[in-house]
């Protein structure tokens, strides 16, 4: 079972994208906390692409493929913009961030806490961020 969603690379498009994600995830999942976690992780990855991606002038929509394989969810984010290093390790405790007023890396921390694996790779002219989560 795979769903393909398209996201125009603008922050203003995120609410509609979340709605479409929730609609699909709710077909398979029932736990509202888990659904919210997955929406959050996928949105954070897309936001990073929108905010930090080296987007060419002739940008294309970000394609998001979500599939359920046995007890695992796989989310592929396909973009023609080079992604932010989403699998980079993040330092600093939350307390340090508060003292330093450092908001950076929160999204990546959330992604890595929510998902079981995160990898980025190139395929042809595109970059893929693949995130997987074992569903309990």
């Amino acid at each position: 079972m795979t769903k393909k969603l398209l996201l125009r690379p603008y922050i203003s498009e995120l609410p509609q994208f979340r709605l479409a994600l929730k609609e699909f995830l709710s077909i398979v999942l029932t736990d509202s906390v888990q659904i919210n976690q997955i929406i959050l992780a996928i949105e954070e990855a897309c936001s990073n692409n929108i905010n930090y991606g080296d987007r060419p002038e002739n940008y294309e929509e970000i394609e998001v493929f979500i599939s359920f394989e046995k007890n695992k969810l796989v989310a592929d984010i396909k973009d023609n913009s080079a992604p932010f290093k989403i699998d980079a390790s993040i330092c600093c405790s939350m307390l340090d961030k508060i003292i330093k007023k450092d908001k950076g890396g929160l999204g990546l921390t959330l992604i890595n806490k929510i998902m079981d694996s995160v990898e980025t790779f190139e395929r042809g002219d595109y970059y893929i961020c693949r995130m997987t989560k074992v569903l309990k």
Binding site: I11, S12, L14, P15, R18, S32, V33, I35, N36, Q37, I39, L40, E43, E44, S47, N51, S93, M94, L95, K97, I98, I99, K101, D102, K103, L106, G107, T109, L110, K113, I114
Partner: protein, 109 residues
């Protein structure tokens, strides 16, 4: 996202509804900034109607919390839905702020 504001003595109560994400967090950030500039340092945030928070939303609180704490003020939160509480907890933010069930409890501290 909608932000309603109320006051009780020197405490600002901000009731948030809707979604606090990269697009909407700037409005909350500006509002808190203006309150702090005006001398307010005690904030109670109502989250009962807040359906979503992303890292950008949490970043707003993170960027102001130290200033408020250093002036003997506070950020208190009440009425968090389980999914929002879970996001706080994923980042360990729940250990650094006070979370209450109701507005009255949050005001009493």
């Amino acid at each position: 996202m909608e932000i309603k504001e109320k006051y009780l003595n020197d405490i600002v109560i901000l009731i948030l509804s809707g979604e606090l994400d990269a697009g909407t967090s700037i409005f909350l950030d500006e509002k808190i900034e203006k309150f702090i500039e005006s001398g307010y340092i005690k904030f109670v945030f109502g989250f009962e109607q807040l359906d979503y928070i992303s890292s950008a939303g949490l970043g707003v609180f993170i960027s102001h919390l130290d200033d408020v704490n250093n002036k003997d003020g506070f950020f208190r939160f009440f009425g968090l839905q389980d999914k929002i509480k879970n996001v706080f907890s994923l980042l360990g933010f729940d250990l650094l702020v006070s979370i209450y069930t109701s507005e009255n409890q949050a005001l009493e501290g």
